[in-house]
């Protein structure tokens, strides 16, 4: 049996069904809770300014860095009062979507 026609188990309301899975179902990403202390890139772009300094305290709403994406300059703000942990990027870096930019502590 090829993988496409292989029988799998799918549980719905405790009942176990024998069935095939779709590619989309197999590739779905499990939910992970959002951690506001990990600043991730929401869009790919180029880092054009980094104002966050490791060890320094920031208030909610302070600008941490500026990412240029789709010809727009986007300020990335601190989502909460915190101390800057590690800064993972520097000016000129090209970042991918969901890449870790800054860790807050």
């Amino acid at each position: 049996m090829s993988d496409k026609t292989k029988s799998h188990k799918l549980i719905i309301d405790d009942e176990v069904y024998e069935t095939r899975l779709t590619e989309k179902y197999k590739k779905r990403k499990p939910w992970v809770p959002v951690n506001p202390r990990r600043i991730l890139a929401v869009i790919p772009g180029v880092i054009i300014e980094v104002s966050a300094k490791e060890g320094r305290s920031v208030k909610r709403g302070d600008s941490l860095l500026v990412v240029e994406a789709m010809k727009m300059k986007n300020d990335i703000f601190a989502p909460l009062d915190a101390k800057i942990g590690k800064v993972h990027v520097q000016v000129g870096d090209i970042t991918k979507k969901s890449q870790l930019l800054i860790e807050l502590v």
Binding site: I12, D13, D14, E15, L21
Partner: protein
């Protein structure tokens, strides 16, 4: 000039224009494994039936050297021909002429044939093979697209519209096919996307080929943009002919009836349908047990395969089937299968095609990904489409009809005209195990032998609810029937509802949860 000279002159003009972009461009087209626009039309339509119009249309663009460019037919072939002896309007973009690029004259040829199709009440077939907007024409090219989209929308639900993607169809151009009823794609030939691989690479840094981004397989299996996938252009044209045999010419007509034929004797429900509610089977085999000649046309077969939509005939008349597919994802409703079903139901309703729903589903697919993708909004489309439909609606509950899924799959409550249930039907809020685990949670936990207690409670629930008789007692099910009686009951119900009319409150239009 004498008349005879004038006529010869016409023939020579016609012949010159008919070669499109010329020998070299045609050779290039063929080398890419593609047919020419005129060959496509000739193969698709009845022999000798095609008449081309607007062959001598010319563009009026003077900028960027365009005034010196002669573009035969302005890169699109339009006209009227026949399929199975019935007239249809057609256009085919000619890639050999300026890459099939769309300028205002090109677009106006298309909108003219669209207007014809709507007035004549015949289907419209559009063959797309174009590099996109003719940039030299600026906003006029965009105007052209917009005028096509407007007509696609106006014609929607009045005449069937079919799009055939036989080349690139990129950027704004994709939205005409997206507005039409059926989209055909061909392996290695079709390419559809809004933004191409180059832009994606520049903006996102992601490298993806045209084929991986928007090739035929992707459109048929991943995006759901396409309804029919073929390996070759030839196969694609045969598929179009087959589809067209099932659908009416416009919303005031019925599809051409065929002679009645009993289903193939090799298809027996007893052979294809397992009783145990958790066992899979291919619901298309059940459909083949029910329809004339066991002939079923699966629409969007490769996308959201957990629901099956398609056409068959009962007593020679076209019917639309919507069936949960236990073979894939246990036949659940989810975001994609809801979209697929809702669109198909609306097509059938618009074109007076009776709907037969075959039900066997455990409910909706659980998961954060589904909830966040809007399974509430998408699932609501099924409720909307079924409730809104006024064509004869027949439902057969084969096994599981649990929870919201029971309501959604054309239940009596959404206006089904006839609801039949097999003795194997289980109409309940959920399966017996899940229900027992909730209702008797404490009893099971506190029992000396929890497993024995669980089984006892499952049996109790099964006995009480996992059957069709509670729903039949309430009149929600009209008749409990044996699987072998299904075709007879459906034929009877279809005949009984052949004069059905149903009024809805007067309104400009409803607001479906798009």
């Amino acid at each position: 000039m004498s008349l005879i000279r004038k006529i010869l002159d016409l023939f020579s003009k016609r012949s010159k224009a008919s070669t499109g972009g010329g020998e070299k461009a045609i050779a290039k087209q063929l080398k890419q494994g593609k047919w020419t626009a005129r060959d496509r039309i000739t193969y698709l339509l009845d022999d000798g039936s095609f008449r081309e119009y607007d062959l001598f249309v010319e563009h009026k663009c003077h900028d960027f050297g365009m005034d010196k460019k002669q573009l035969p037919g302005d890169g699109v072939v339009t006209g009227i021909g026949k399929i199975s002896g019935h007239p249809i309007c057609i256009y085919a973009q000619d890639f050999t002429v300026a890459g099939g690029s769309l300028g205002l004259a090109h677009a106006r040829k298309i909108t003219k044939i669209m207007d014809h199709a709507l007035k004549l009440g015949v289907p419209l077939i559009g063959i797309n093979d174009s590099g996109g907007a003719r940039i030299q024409e600026g906003v006029n090219a965009l105007a052209g697209y917009g005028e096509i989209f407007f007509r696609n929308t106006n014609a929607s639900g009045v005449i069937p519209q079919i799009s055939v993607i036989l080349g690139p169809c990129a950027g704004g151009a994709v939205y005409s096919p997206a507005l039409t009823d059926f989209v055909f794609v061909v392996e290695k030939v079709s390419k559809m996307f809004i933004t191409g691989p180059e832009v994606i690479k520049t903006v996102l840094g992601e490298e993806i080929s045209m084929e991986e981004l928007g090739g035929a397989r992707v459109q048929a299996e991943v995006t759901g943009n396409a309804h029919f996938y073929a390996e070759t252009e030839e196969e694609c044209f045969q598929q179009i002919n087959r589809l067209v045999s099932f659908i009416p010419w416009n919303n005031r007509k019925k599809a051409t009836p065929f002679p009645t034929k009993e289903p193939d004797a090799k298809y027996k429900i007893a052979d294809v349908f397992p009783e145990l509610a958790t066992k899979p089977y291919d619901v298309r085999d059940v459909i083949r047990c029910l329809v004339d000649d066991s002939d079923f046309l699966d629409v969007q077969s490769a996308w959201a395969a957990n629901i099956v939509t398609g056409f068959g005939r009962m007593s020679g008349q076209t019917v639309g089937f919507v069936a949960n597919q236990p073979l894939v994802l246990a036949g659940v409703l989810d975001v994609d299968s809801s979209d697929k079903a809702a669109r198909f139901i609306r097509f059938c309703d618009a074109f007076s095609i009776p709907l037969i729903t075959l039900e066997d589903l455990p409910g909706y697919l659980p998961g954060a990904d589904q909830e966040h993708a809007g399974v509430i909004r998408h699932g609501a489309k099924v409720l909307y489409a079924y409730s809104e439909a006024t064509v004869p609606k027949l439902t057969v509950i084969m096994r599981k009809a649990y929870g919201g899924g029971y309501i959604a799959m054309c239940s009596r409550h959404l206006g089904a005209d006839f609801v039949f249930a097999w003795p194997s039907a289980e109409i309940a809020v959920m399966g017996p195990l899940g229900a027992a685990n909730i209702i008797f949670r404490r009893e099971i936990a506190e029992a000396e032998d929890p497993e024995a207690m669980r089984q006892e409670k499952v049996d109790e629930y099964t006995e009480k609810f996992a059957n069709p008789y509670v729903a039949a007692a309430a009149g929600y099910v009209d008749a409990v029937i044996s699987p072998e009686e299904t075709r007879d009951f459906l034929l009877h119900a279809l005949e009984a509802s052949s004069h059905k009319t149903e009024q809805r409150p007067e309104k400009k239009h409803g607001i479906p949860p798009f």
